[in-house]
Amino acid sequence: MASRARAGNVGRSVPRLEGPEKVEGRARYVDDLRFPGMLHGRTIRAPHPCGRLRAVRLGPGGLPLGLVVVGPRDIPGDNVIATIEDDQPALAWGEIRHAEEPVLLLAHADREALWAIPAEVDMIPGTPVFDPLASPRVFKQIRIAKGDAAAALRRAPVVVEGEYRTGAQEHVYIEPQGVIAVPENGGITIHGSLQCPYYVHKALCRLLRLPPDKVRVIQVETGGGFGGKEDYPSVIAGHAALLALKARRPVKMVYDRGEDMRATTKRHPSIVRLRSAFSRDGTLLALEAQVVMDGGAYVTLSPVVLSRGVLHASGPYRCPAVAIEGRAVMTNTPPNGAFRGFGAPQTLFAIEAHMDRCAQQLGIDPVKLREKNAFRPGDVTATGQKLPKDTAALPVLREAVRRSDYHRKRIAWAGTGRGIGLSLFFHGSGFTGAGEVRLASKASLELTPKGVRILVASTEIGQGTRTMLAQIVADTLGWPLSAVEVAPADTGLVPDSGPTVASRTCMIVGGILQKAARELKRKLGRAKPAQYLARHGALVVTGQYEKPAEIQWDEERYRGDAYGTYGWGCDVVELEVDPVTREVRPLKLTAVQEIGKAIHPGLARGQVEGGSAQGLGWALSEEVVMRDGRMANAQLTNYMVPTTKDTPEMDVTILGLGYRHGPFGAKGLGELPMDGPAPAVVNALRHAGFDVREVPATPERLLRCASR
């Protein structure tokens, strides 16, 4: 019966649940909310990128009546932002490690009066480190070894080596970070723009020394995240909560664009060195990779970003001998953090830019070289994972080449100032094997008189989580979509489904919900929901993540099945370069991506289009300029995200081979589209005559590389 009952929502682009509120301006974001007696919060930050803090002075001049001041001594619990390690203080007090380090918090009812208060931070400046290669402090080091790469490199007839660099990237969610902290019920409630309610919950329990039931975190409508609202909300929520508890009044803390760009996390800048060995016919024999990620001042999520980076560093290629060494290091800049792709775009940029250079050196067509070496089902990765049947490197490559008319344009455009290039990539869905086991995520279904309510901590941040999860539950139950509601992501209501990150919500949380729905259906039998409730009372079914038996991962040795499965993609970028200004105009992007079953094809397409546009921005125009450890272009006037005029036509094709452990065969999707555009851009530039090995490929950089 379970298999027969399909209501037919999955695979259809049903209208998204929260759509009407958004297009009519009724959706309420954090800055749209007000609470009685609410104050505004402000953060005083350090003036130098490193050194020792001596004192913070407010004034000169009288301070406004009713001003609330919070310093490190006002912190009831541990002065840390609990993430992976406890190195980042909520308020710095001796050592200062970056120039946006918060040192004092203020709150007042009058926002203008609050921001008019002069503040002087007295420091003994130290000598900062900005170059990650010169950093004395390593946050995390990871090694992956397969076979004897050094020996193979010594013996091979063709060896290609190169260094590839990527810059920081700012998320530019259009809604800056913001929360409101409300003291109530002897604890604190946070209403915030955030991705991971339980991350904030955990951090606040530590910071405020409150038991779990006294901290409540409610996600309000969130205006974009892209990873930027994964870890930073713990900082801003902590600050607002400290002020609110001291003031005994609600405190709103919403950053303006400048503060958001300067102080919050960015994509880790990277330096990747590659050496690869080939036989003369282009068979990849060995690969050596050294990966350095600039973590910024504190550990935050850098170990995990590095992990995903090194796990993707050898690209979608079979290779008998691999040696990867990765390091995340400290510099005196604000901490870098999660950003869509999470380390993989950096290393995939390197390997894919490298492959076109290898093709050139070998005198082989870049598509042929990839076809020869790309993973097939059953091939074994650098960590020893035997790849499943849904390994789709070749299908996406062939389809993208065909759809874009790559080979014809490659010949026709030679020497015209136009270029066409491609990239082949993959992206592990969900956390690593061990990571998902550690998370042990839960998701619940609660029977309602009309049907069922989904209780998950997974957040809707634009990608369509609520709609997609409702489709999975509706079809598993065989009920119409209208019978399924989704509860707000409120830690007072929902279990910990793990963070909304790592392309895991659909595949992992959707899978747990599917199991819960089957269980609920079994319990319900032939009864209608209202009948069941009348007879037996409330019914809540909770499912928990169970690792498929065949996934084996050894975190210590970095061996085994790194991810349950992978999404696969091939992007082709066509562009032209202005002969005088060296400005690059992308003309078209062809994206072919294999994501398993698309639960909602329209939302899936939106993920590919939006992620690809972010990838193009990172590749061409988005440059974070740091001066003395501070972002010098912290405004949208000169940090250039793509506009309608910069974003080319996109031809998106979604292939769905299916993954047997995903709900209805779905895999992860959110991050995959971010991986492909940057290397495809530099490969198209190489075709147009520019040897670029660094992004963003700004006109200035192209002028330099042309005059070389």
């Binding site: 297009v23 530019v172 969610y173 259009i174 974009g224 664009r257 289009e609 939006g610 974003t647």
Partner: protein
């Protein structure tokens, strides 16, 4: 300060240099108009001033004296466009959406893709890559084909 807001006369007591954006959100309680950057780059605060789209973060309220101001809450006769933003994937996180809908409401029917891109160049969206927004405009108002491509062929 007096002006017509979404078809109704209003009088607000605000300093003349206060941003129209803040007057709308704080004094008038209309929070559909969003602040994304505060410097006229992102267009999330787009409203119509006498029918023309403006960034309300750059307009002092004095400038609106006697004018007709239309916000997303007061946009009439564009239900089809708004529905199309939902069905065609023109809205993801939704924070830029009111600005886009207001700006798109001024585009002529049957506008070419290039004209739509030009008309919406002052609005930033970080979620959609704009493709869903073009589809929404084309679905609601026709057009959306590339004039350049046609010419080339």
């Amino acid at each position: 300060m007096r002006f017509t807001l979404n078809g109704k006369p209003v009088a607000v007591d605000a300093p003349p240099m206060k941003r129209l954006l803040d007057v709308l959100r704080e004094e008038c309680g209309l929070t559909g108009t969003k602040e994304g950057c505060g410097e006229g780059e992102c267009g999330a605060c787009t409203v119509l001033l006498d029918g023309a789209p403006v960034n309300s973060c750059l307009v002092p309220v004095a400038h609106a004296e006697g004018a007709k101001v239309t916000t997303i809450e007061g946009l009439r006769g564009h239900d089809k466009l708004q529905r199309a933003f939902v069905t065609e994937g023109g809205a993801q996180c939704g924070i830029c959406t009111p600005g886009f809908v207001v700006a798109a409401s001024t585009l002529p029917r049957g506008a070419s893709l290039e004209a739509v891109q030009e008309g919406l160049a002052g609005n930033l969206c970080r979620c959609t890559g704009y493709a869903g927004i073009y589809r929404a405009v084309a679905a609601a108002r026709g057009g959306g084909k590339s004039a350049k491509k046609k010419a080339k062929r």
